[in-house]
């Protein structure tokens, strides 16, 4: 897989959050630009093109939705991921109807954000071809089939989701909390019991290695897991 440098614009007025996102994305060698208010964001959106724009809805001097309208009216091809504190279906639908690619509710894990951004960019760049290749692993995103070399591996729905999640966050430590929320949603309260995550990971590793795949998944200090190249 050819490593593509992504250009990402982070529009977020909360400094702490903006810095964390920037750091998380630039570590991968991506290029991040930031905007802390509506005016700065507007000028950047009008001047440059990005692979993905992370758009906060509430800014001190404007509404992210207006910015989204401008992007869509000008037919800018940028992917847009709304990050919002508002978790209501109406807001979500408004955002998606206006042409946003996804909607993520604060607070979120950076790994979740990364997975969503990766998915958006994948949809934008590869168009119809939905193949994801990592070394000997090939994933058909449409039929949801995973192959190592030529061999098809049967994954359960959750195992498949987890594998994609790891691939999107290659080289990052993904916390168990983030995994739990990704797989079960935040509606289900695990009460900090992450034993089932362990068994899922164990199954993925076993299935991959039985097909002759390298062991890419490492446990990270009991806090989470890391998918390394």
């Amino acid at each position: 897989m050819i490593k593509k440098v992504l250009k990402i614009l982070i529009i977020e007025d909360e400094e702490g959050l903006r810095e964390s996102i920037e750091e998380y994305f630039t570590e991968d060698g991506n290029i991040c630009e930031t905007a802390h208010n509506y005016q700065v964001a507007l000028s950047k959106v009008n001047l440059y093109r990005y692979d993905c724009i992370l758009l906060d809805i509430t800014m001190p001097d404007g509404n992210g939705m207006d910015l989204l309208k401008i992007i869509k009216e000008n037919n800018y091809p940028d992917g847009v991921l709304i990050i919002s504190a508002k978790n209501s279906l109406d807001d979500r639908l408004d955002g998606l109807n206006l042409g946003a690619d996804d909607y993520l509710v604060k607070p979120f894990h950076l790994s979740e954000l990364k997975a969503r951004v990766t998915a958006i960019i994948r949809r934008k760049t590869f168009g119809g071809s939905n193949q994801l290749v990592f070394n000997e692993i090939t994933i058909d995103l449409l039929s949801k089939e995973v192959r190592v070399g030529k061999q098809l591996i049967k994954f359960t729905r959750k195992e498949y989701a987890l594998l994609l999640y790891f691939l999107a966050n290659k080289g990052k430590v993904v916390s168990k909390n983030a995994i739990a929320e990704h797989l079960w949603g935040d509606g289900i309260d695990m009460a900090n019991n992450f034993d089932f995550i362990y068994s899922h990971i164990k199954n993925i590793r076993k299935k991959l290695m039985e097909a002759g795949c390298q062991d890419y998944i490492q446990a990270a200090y009991g806090m989470g897991y890391k998918f390394v190249d």
Binding site: G16, A85, I188, D189, A191, G222, M223
Partner: protein
């Protein structure tokens, strides 16, 4: 007791008592007047006797009369004291029969005057008795008429009271109806009641003001909760992202990673708590409107599937019997409802316990084994009530109940055969 009934009772009792008292006074007065009339007659009669004796120096002849009798008896001089007495009047009645005529006596109430007279040197006691039967008849008649008037008056009073008061109190009842239907959370205002009575106008105005004030306060409180929760989201998001960034840095000691894990746990609890509060506000404000036709059986199966790993992990035996049930509700809220209830059934269960889920057209029942004592029905649905060991937010069941109320279902807890049972009745 109804105001009308109370009023009628007081009214009736006082009317009857007053009527009785006035009746007695009335009776006494008439009786006194008539008796003194009698006495006057008696005195006239006595005077006639005296006059006769003075003139003729002998006793007058006694004669029969229908209503008066005079008798003279010899007595010891000075032994008779002049006085009026109530006595009996013997009335001779002649009755005609088929065969013969016969006499007999009837007793009637009488008024008598005892007096004395000297005829020559002989002393006589005079007894003049007059029948009071006419007087009594008169009194009786007057009394009957009075009683009839009183009864008529009472009946009229009760009937008019009932008719008029019911009508007069109508605005009051309609205000009451409005108050009973008053819901602080909905937007319906209490309407102006059509009345000309000042008191009810005042009451209506007060009630409308009060309702508006209560609604405003409630709204303020909701807005505050919502704003507070929203403001909390940003710092939580920052902590979360900083933690995510922190664990990317290498080389943690086991102690450090344990600390980080605890932090993650605490942040995620804080986040859930905050989300729950926001959700409660939304449900209570009925901000979640999007409703759709839902196959509850499918949704329940889906939710059970979500918990599969957790059932396995705790070795919980799940038995379920689901019938088809279509409902019209919010998918989002139902998911939360089911997930909260199943979550509780797992969390408050012991290892190798069991959970039963039954769905019928009337109800959804979720039963779980757990602590061997029943929970307190009133307490478990209140905010932030939770067992000391619980890691939950203490809002789960409150949310469940709110969701049920939102769709007009009832959520009920009971403890049956060592099963904690939650029943949703549609």
């Amino acid at each position: 007791m109804k105001l009308l009934a109370k009023y009628n009772r007081v009214n009736l009792i006082t009317t009857i008592v007053v009527m009785l008292i006035t009746g007695i006074i009335y009776y006494q007065a008439i009786s006194w007047i008539l008796t003194s009339q009698n006495d006057k007659d008696l005195v006239v009669e006595e005077q006639e006797v005296f006059d006769y004796v003075k003139l003729n120096h002998q006793l007058p002849q006694t004669f029969q009369s229908d209503d008066q009798q005079i008798t003279f008896t010899a007595a010891q001089p000075g032994s008779v004291k002049r006085e009026f007495i109530n006595t009996i009047y013997f009335k001779k009645v002649e009755e005609e029969d088929k065969h013969r005529r016969h006499h007999h006596q009837e007793y009637e109430a009488g008024r008598g005057l005892v007096s004395s007279v000297m005829v020559g040197n002989r002393y006589y006691k005079i007894l003049i008795v007059e029948s009071k039967v006419e007087t009594e008849d008169l009194i009786q008649l007057i009394f009957t008429i009075t009683i009839c008037v009183i009864l008529l008056l009472l009946v009229t009073l009760v009937v008019t009271n009932r008719l008029i008061l019911n009508r007069i109190w109508q605005p009051f009842y309609s205000i009451m109806r409005e108050l009973r239907g008053f819901n602080i959370a909905d937007t319906k205002e209490i309407p102006q009641v059509d009345t000309t009575t000042d008191e009810f106008k005042e009451l209506n105005r007060t009630v409308i003001d009060m309702a508006a004030r209560a609604k405003l306060d409630y709204k303020d409180l909701k807005i505050f909760t919502e704003n507070a929760s929203h403001e909390l989201l940003t710092p939580i998001a920052v902590i979360n992202s900083k933690l995510d960034t922190l664990i990317q840095t290498e080389n943690f000691s086991p102690q450090q990673s344990k600390l980080l894990n605890d932090l993650y746990g605490a942040v995620s609890r804080l986040n859930r708590l905050n989300q729950s509060l926001l959700l409660l506000v939304k449900i209570e404000n009925r901000l979640l409107h999007e409703q759709q036709q839902i196959n509850l059986k499918e949704l329940t199966e889906e939710m059970i599937g979500q918990f599969e790993e957790i059932f396995q992990d705790k070795d919980i035996r799940l038995t379920y019997n689901l019938n088809d049930k279509a409902i019209y509700a919010s998918h989002y809220l139902l998911e939360i409802l089911l997930s909260n209830l199943i979550n509780n059934a797992i969390r408050h269960n012991y290892r190798s316990g069991s959970i039963n889920i039954t769905l019928t057209a009337q109800s959804l029942i979720i039963q779980n084994t757990g602590e061997s004592a029943p929970l307190v029905q009133e307490k478990i649905f209140t905010r932030f009530h939770k067992s000391s060991k619980s890691e939950g937010s203490g809002l789960g069941l409150t949310i469940c109940r709110q969701i049920c109320e939102n769709f007009n279902y009832t959520l009920h807890y009971s403890y049956q055969d060592s099963y904690h049972t939650f029943t949703i009745t549609f």
